[in-house]
């Protein structure tokens, strides 16, 4: 299977930081995967997403996305990757349609195709009736869905999701999860971070648990649960591996 993300021996330390946030990280995600990237606060998840997004650079190691080195093909790769940040990173004073038209324009999508794509995605996520409402008047769940749609506008081959379902109701969460599964079936590889272990167990075909800048365990949810005979679900495995101490 084609490797869509390949991170080898990645080290990253911030300018004013006292430690390596990523300390020899190895990560491989294959086409067709929904990879759950799980870990406690400060483990290095967001830094990994930032590196893959091209927002920051690694100190050591190599990153290859869709078979291309990120340093050499950053601009080209930006057009093939969809990124959904944890923040609702859209413009509240603009309507859903205006936001999507703007972000679609940034990807250089043809106007006619963009309109069709916007209509399709709004329909898919149940927002077509609200296309002309300003985002500031949306509920939390609707904002999350629009936030996700922005990352899907250009039909990316790889989707990076940073806690896409945080703080929303069960219905909205369900719409997002179902649509992510559908997108994956259509060929989009997904790297997904979350603190919701049940959701990860339900959605992901593979999970990696990161702590202190390294992957400490990797496999399918079933494989991981199986490795610890006394554990009944992914959450108990996760707690066993990362400990119960509160992280800040």
């Amino acid at each position: 299977m084609e490797t869509v993300i390949c991170m080898e021996n990645i080290k990253k330390r911030y300018k004013h930081g006292d430690r390596h946030v990523l300390n020899g990280l190895h990560l491989k995600v294959h086409a067709g995967d929904i990879y759950g990237f799980l870990g406690p606060n400060g483990a290095g998840k967001s830094t990994t997403i930032k590196l893959l997004s091209g927002l920051i650079s690694n100190d050591e190691g190599t990153i290859t996305l869709l078979g291309k080195n990120i340093l050499e093909h950053r601009e080209q790769l930006k057009r093939k990757i969809g990124i959904v940040p944890q923040d609702i990173a859209i413009y509240p004073s603009l309507t859903a349609f205006e936001n999507l038209k703007f972000f679609g324009g940034i990807y250089g999508i043809n106007q006619t195709h963009l309109k069709e794509r916007i209509a399709y995605l709004l329909h898919l996520f149940g927002l077509e009736e609200h296309r002309n409402r300003k985002i500031e008047h949306y509920s939390g769940g609707m904002k999350r869905r629009i936030n996700l749609i922005v990352g899907l506008l250009h039909e990316p081959k790889l989707l990076l999701l940073d806690e896409p379902t945080v703080g929303i109701d069960v219905q909205s969460k369900n719409v997002i999860i179902e649509n992510l599964k559908m997108l994956n079936r259509q060929g989009t590889a997904i790297l997904y971070t979350s603190h919701d272990m049940n959701e990860a167990e339900q959605l992901c075909n593979k999970v990696g648990i990161i702590d202190e800048g390294k992957i400490i365990k990797e496999g399918t949810p079933k494989e991981l649960i199986k490795q610890f005979s006394e554990m009944v679900n992914l959450e108990s495995v996760y707690l066993k591996l990362t400990g119960k101490k509160i992280r800040d």
Binding site: S57, Y91, F102, Y107
Partner: protein, 424 residues
């Protein structure tokens, strides 16, 4: 190009939807220019024309004291009130108390026997010259006229009022002394000289004109010609607050980072902001200009005269706007929060305006401030604007100032780009 157009579309919509921001950008400059110009216009009129309240206590009650009182009553500058008419027993201390209370702006006390002492002094001087007689030193010391000013009068108004009073007394004194000399010459000449009245001699008159290159007769820059460009530039520089705030807001809500993960460069992102805010600055300028030309005359002020130099002034404004916008961009890159950017932006613009000569002309500043004013973009902009409006120069003449402004803009732009790279 598609990316750039999309960014312009977004920035235009964001600005359009920000009602408070629009008010700040368009209503603030108009109000600022209107208030400051009418205030300065009113201040000039109050000093030059009428309504300076004056209380005169004439204890002399002789020809010199009476002449002063009559001339004061005729004056366009002062609105005189005779103290004796208010209270016939008023003393010098009463007059001081009334001025200290702020009842009148100026108080003048003419001491007892001033006319007599004045004539005596001139007599002595003439007799000394003609007859070799001695001057009585006592009379010189006693002849003192006192002027009291309201303590709240600002130093600038104070000196202006005092120069008016000095000029006024000098004129009366000259006329009176020439009259005294004329009479004494008649007396000394033992009727050889008759009907001599030197006080009617006009002497030197001053012909004051503004050095106008075009030789336009009667051209006189007014408060409007000075204030419209000055306060427009000040308002344009205030764009840094709105601009820096908008950039930091995008950074804080994550949309900036999201854009950077897309095929959109930081330079593109900033260029779109520059174009949109440049349009805002031009609209601000046109709004203020329209107010100066059409609204000011309706409220009793002189109209702003733009004849023939609109394009030249517009070019200077564009250069100043570029400097202001890029300054705002550099603040947004360095500041860590919207609050920090607004405080720093506002204070820095006020400082740049102060040292740039917006409030006080740079030629009256101390040497070190004069030197510092040379590095204020507001100073370059105001110099260039005055050159065009008041000295009627061309763009070629103000090219150095325009180049300074554009260089400042470029430096600020580079600071923003490099600071972002450094932060990562």
């Amino acid at each position: 190009m598609r990316i750039f157009l999309s960014l312009l579309y977004k920035d235009f919509l964001l600005l359009l939807r920000d009602k408070a921001g629009l008010l700040l950008l368009f209503v603030m400059p108009l109000s600022l220019v209107l208030i400051m110009t009418s205030m300065q216009d009113g201040m000039m009129k109050s000093v030059i024309n009428t309504d300076v309240s004056l209380l005169l206590l004439n204890n002399d009650m002789d020809s010199l004291g009476n002449a002063i009182e009559i001339e004061m009553q005729k004056s366009d500058v002062f609105h005189m009130q005779s103290a004796k008419a208010l209270d016939s027993s008023m003393t010098e201390q009463d007059l001081i108390n009334l001025i200290a209370k702020g009842e009148y702006l100026i108080g003048i006390y003419i001491p007892d026997s001033m006319t007599h002492l004045f004539i005596e002094e001139y007599k002595n001087a003439l007799f000394q010259a003609v007859m070799r007689q001695q001057i009585s030193q006592d009379t010189v010391q006693k002849m003192k006229l006192s002027v009291y000013l309201d303590p709240t009068v600002k130093p600038s108004v104070h000196s202006s009022l005092m120069s008016n009073i000095r000029a006024f007394f000098m004129e009366i004194q000259n006329r009176f002394s020439l009259k005294v000399i004329s009479k004494m010459l008649e007396t000394i000449s033992e009727n050889k000289i008759k009907n001599l009245d030197l006080s009617e001699c006009q002497g030197i008159t001053i012909n004051e004109k503004i050095a106008d290159k075009g030789g336009e007769e009667g051209f006189r820059p007014n408060a409007v010609q000075h204030n419209v460009p000055a306060w427009t530039l000040f308002a344009i520089f205030f764009i840094v607050i709105s601009l820096a705030g908008s950039i930091i807001k995008e950074r804080e809500d994550g949309s900036f980072n999201r854009l950077m993960t897309m095929p959109c460069s930081y330079a593109y992102y900033l260029s779109s902001k520059i174009i949109i805010y440049l349009i805002v600055c031009i609209l601000q300028f046109l709004g203020v200009l329209a107010m100066g030309i059409w609204i000011f005359p309706l409220i009793g002020m002189e109209a702003f005269i733009i004849d023939g130099f609109f394009i030249n002034l517009l070019l200077v404004i564009i250069c100043a706007a570029c400097a202001a916008i890029c300054f705002g961009i550099s603040i947004s890159a360095i500041a860590t929060s919207q609050q920090q950017a607004s405080i720093f932006g506002a204070i820095s613009v006020v400082i740049l305006a102060a040292i740039g000569g917006i409030w006080v002309p740079t030629f009256v500043m101390p040497d070190f401030l004069k030197f510092i004013s040379n590095i204020s973009p507001l100073n370059w902009a105001i110099d260039a604007s005055y050159s065009i409006i008041l000295r009627k120069t061309t763009v070629i003449d103000v090219l150095p100032e325009c180049i300074y402004l554009l260089t400042f803009a470029l430096v600020c732009f580079c600071v923003a780009i490099f600071y972002k790279k450094y932060k990562l």
